[in-house]
Assembly symmetry: C2
Homo-oligomer: 419 residues x 2
Amino acid sequence: MNHALLKGLRVIESSAFVAAPLAGLTLAQFGADVIRIDPIGGGIDYGRLPLMPGGRSLYWTGLNKSKRSLAVDLRSPRGRELIQELAAAAGVLLTNIASSWLSHAVLAERRSDVITCTISGNADGSTAVDYTVNCATGYPAITGGGSLDAPVNNVVPAWDFACGYQAAFAILAAVDSRRRTGEGAEPKIALSDVAFCALSHLGLLTEVELLGRERESIGNHVYGAFGRDFGTADGRRVMIVAISAGQWTALVQACDAAAAMAELESSLGLSFRNEGDRYAARESIAAVVASWCAARPLAEITRVFDQHRVCWGLYRSVGDLLANDPRVSPAAEVFEQIETAGVGRHLAAGTPVRVGAQPRGPIRPAPLVGQHTDEVLQDLLGLDSATLGRLHDARIVGGPELDPTAINGAGGPRRERAV
Amino acid sequence: MNHALLKGLRVIESSAFVAAPLAGLTLAQFGADVIRIDPIGGGIDYGRLPLMPGGRSLYWTGLNKSKRSLAVDLRSPRGRELIQELAAAAGVLLTNIASSWLSHAVLAERRSDVITCTISGNADGSTAVDYTVNCATGYPAITGGGSLDAPVNNVVPAWDFACGYQAAFAILAAVDSRRRTGEGAEPKIALSDVAFCALSHLGLLTEVELLGRERESIGNHVYGAFGRDFGTADGRRVMIVAISAGQWTALVQACDAAAAMAELESSLGLSFRNEGDRYAARESIAAVVASWCAARPLAEITRVFDQHRVCWGLYRSVGDLLANDPRVSPAAEVFEQIETAGVGRHLAAGTPVRVGAQPRGPIRPAPLVGQHTDEVLQDLLGLDSATLGRLHDARIVGGPELDPTAINGAGGPRRERAV
């Protein structure tokens, strides 16, 4: 937990990959009790790369921080019934795994005001992932100077992120509505809808529909204003942006380029106060800025740009970011050192949201699969030790000792069962 | 409005660019009454490209659908006071424009339980935009086969989207908490934190910290499993992904490649049931799939892939998407034809979230700046006609007739003031 704003909210999560786990993480980071339902031994993304030598996935442990895990045989009738009971007890289910036995209708029979949030690839339920949606957005044809014949994919899973955060939002909207009306809800989000709606929100759809204009493929230039990457005298690379008038003035002053720009404006018949004119003249402007940057080492550029409040950033590798950028360090409020079983001690992020006077609680590490099986069944369903023992013996549920990454001690101490 | 789940929630938005307007749009699409505060004549992004011939921005009208707009002189003391009164009356302020006179502390003096959500570039309040944050994430060095010397920027504003949705989520969490505790809150979100936290959530930070490993720059290959783009016999391009075991089996069957894959597995000493092994052998696997695709036109590939439920997608331009993909059409539930003043009739997206039995209300077009000045001041502050008239005469507030894109009729009919 990071904040306690959502204290009291309880969510059952049955999920894999990025969007749905991220939605659960977002809720957990605000203090919701998010309980993962995992198959004994872990689900289909439990071994996704990158892996620690002992087998723990840094991807999975990254997305499932601050949650609890209950391991259950999802094919056994009693196992399914337990999950239905848990979802009804919690009142909120978050899932991207379509299961008829865990549908909204089935759960609503147990609890009429249940909230079921389902994420799918396409709205018709067919499969799609970030990459197979992104290719249809037109973006790969205009990224990195690419084209339809030589498209450039995003590496950032942009649509997964947007979809996950939208799902977390939709759950809160449904919870808020339930608090006022007493009624449940069934929000459904398709990854493809998230991406295509974004094209409408940013104006790209209307641009083609009404103006018949496709966005140009302009490499690292920023569309609609001025911005591009530039090399420094000492071999580093910086991104410089001048979207607002203030950013433009700052850049011109920092590069001592007022005369050069006035000359360009006069020869091109443009006014660079106008961001559209800066965009039109981007190559000419970039030539001036490129000369200035190429003649100076990064240290000097940093000093001058920060003095003039230029909007700029340094290209970094992840290792460079971790080693040299104070925004990613234990000193930054959103980061913290945590200890994850099977991983070790490492820097981890909580929620990026800082909430004024609210105290920030510790970031709990991702669980082992089944780490909270007993406590969840006791807390939510009131099962006693004898019943828990029978469920374990019948392999209907499992504890952390059945987590494959916990074998050989790689996953931390094997916990004795409470029964 | 699209859903009425948030009916009764009222938000004052003072914003520009992508993240904050998107947060407001997200709230508006769920039924919140989101009221933009705009300078008379429009704010710094009101003329951002792309533009209609009459000057209306498709970017601005895309991000500000379903909101109301009040135009006010932000420099006049009475104008500022009006906005403070409105924020206190609404109880929620969303902004990415730092103004000391509109700070949480100032508003809390008028209303102790006010919620103020502020988006900034960096947490210290310094400027940053999507591009100047993204360059520090390491992604441009591994996108499109790029490197630190030749980075490839995202064109999708991924962090803006993540940040906007996080802000909408944070506001709802604060509203939910206020409903229970009676206390306000001050969520603050920095764009840079959103991006850097994502690196933690996806495991990239820990990979470098504990394993000393930077992600490779692998072009259009999908990291950690199998996926890449392929050309068809008729000159189209498809993205194919096999992350899960089911997706892999589907692809192998569709391409009739079981024997070829068995041979590869045997010669490489790998098992392609394991997604990590598929990733290791990605070039060899891709060669087989490439031959299969290159020998077939898109129509045949579509038929075979859909029959086998392969996870794939077609690379499209935005125009192709709009013309040929039924997911982006008036028939798709999330889209609708709307009429925007100064733009005309066009396809527009509501929220990507479908909410079960909830009826979907109409998508309201983006307002002209000042279109709702009088009704908002009447509704929220109870100002009478005489007072409104004096405010207009003193140019402290403005109506839609002062919207520069409404001149010459391009912005639709010039409305007579109610006073």
